[in-house]
């Protein structure tokens, strides 16, 4: 039996052509570097807010505690520095931090049911900057526990009053 003798002729080293592969790899690398963009993470505040119906009386899951929070703006759209937040029409607060502390005082105990039964209804001035809406929602929704890094929830039921008309200038 005759075997093929590989090295009978001139011995050749078979080399892979690396150049096309390196070309395409560098093109891929360039594409990903060019399209790479560091973007801050985004999150949502979920609000369940169907259009109000003409039902009479209280719905079945009516909350036990309802806070009516009014946020008032100055002419530039910023939150009024003095008495900019009015809770339940009587309690005037000067800052978002004060609102946060107030909410903790109302529902921030160890009773989870108190938080579940609470609801906040926001009433914003027309010209108020949207960032103050987010600040107010953040203040009543919860806080980040510094020791554990976990989010402690306060009030999850949030709704808005119908939009007011812009103030005449």
């Amino acid at each position: 039996m005759k075997f093929r003798h590989v090295g009978s002729q001139e011995e050749r080293k078979i080399e892979l052509q690396m150049t096309p592969m390196i070309d395409i790899v560098f093109q891929l690398l360039t594409f990903f570097i060019m399209s790479f963009k560091i973007v801050a993470q985004e999150g949502d505040f979920n609000i369940q807010m169907p259009l109000a119906t003409q039902q009479q009386g209280l719905p079945e899951d009516s909350p036990l505690v309802t806070l009516h929070v009014q946020l008032r703006a100055d002419a530039t759209g910023r939150l009024l520095s003095s008495g900019g937040i009015v809770v339940n029409g009587e309690r005037m607060l000067d800052s978002i931090e004060a609102l946060h502390n107030f909410v903790i005082g109302v529902v921030g105990g160890d009773e989870p049911s108190a938080r579940a039964d609470a609801e906040v209804e926001f009433d914003f001035d027309y010209g108020l900057h949207y960032e103050h809406i987010i600040e107010a929602i953040t203040a009543v929704s919860g806080y980040v526990d510094r020791s554990t890094g976990q989010v402690q929830k306060l009030i999850e039921k949030i709704k808005f009053t119908p939009p007011a008309e812009p103030a005449a200038s």
């Binding site: 690396m18 592969m21 390196i22 790899v25 560098f26 891929l28 690398l29 990903f32 570097i33 399209s35 790479f36 963009k37 973007v39 801050a40 993470q41 985004e42 999150g43 949502d44 505040f45 979920n46 609000i47 369940q48 807010m49 169907p50 259009l51 946020l71 703006a73 759209g77 914003f124 001035d125 027309y126 010209g127 108020l128 900057h129 949207y130 960032e131 103050h132 809406i133 987010i134 600040e135 929602i137 953040t138 929704s141 919860g142 806080y143 980040v144 989010v151 808005f160 119908p162 939009p163 007011a164 008309e165 812009p166």
Partner: protein
């Protein structure tokens, strides 16, 4: 005159070792492939979101998100195009509603994601919400940028 002679026996062409470079390049490609985020199409450079420490990315993607942008001056941007008035958004909302109804899914499956500029007026944002409510949408997600604090 002798210009060039035959290579001596045993002389070899010096080749650089490409292996470490290719390894490194593939690792770089893998790194960028993992981190690339094509969902930036949902974002809009005209909108500067407010910040919140509680704004955490959702644990699971929304079922049927409808993303609406609002610029500082109250203009509504939908699907990359700026609408002349807010009412121009209504046909798009009707379309989204019909898509849901066509699939036999309830309106509670849809979420209106509002990406409003931090300096947009609260009243205009509320009017946008009201417009969506009139088209039977009931779930809203107010989007904010994550704030890592001091």
């Amino acid at each position: 005159m002798r210009l060039a002679g035959k290579p001596r026996s045993g002389a070899r062409i010096q080749e650089g070792d490409m292996t470490p470079m290719i390894d490194m390049t593939f690792q770089l490609i893998a790194f960028f492939m993992v981190l690339i985020n094509f969902s930036q199409t949902e974002q809009d450079q005209r909108v500067m979101l407010p910040q919140s420490v509680l704004a955490k990315p959702p644990e699971r993607p929304l079922q049927h998100p409808v993303t609406i942008h609002m610029t500082r001056d109250g203009s509504v941007v939908y699907a990359g195009q700026e609408l002349a008035t807010m009412q121009r958004l209504r046909p798009y909302l009707v379309n989204e509603r019909m898509v849901l109804e066509g699939r036999g899914r309830p309106m509670s499956d849809a979420t209106i994601v509002i990406r409003a500029d931090r300096y947009a007026q609260a009243g205009v944002v509320q009017k946008l919400i009201q417009l969506c409510q009139e088209e039977k949408f009931e779930k809203f997600a107010l989007r904010a940028k994550e704030d890592f604090g001091p």
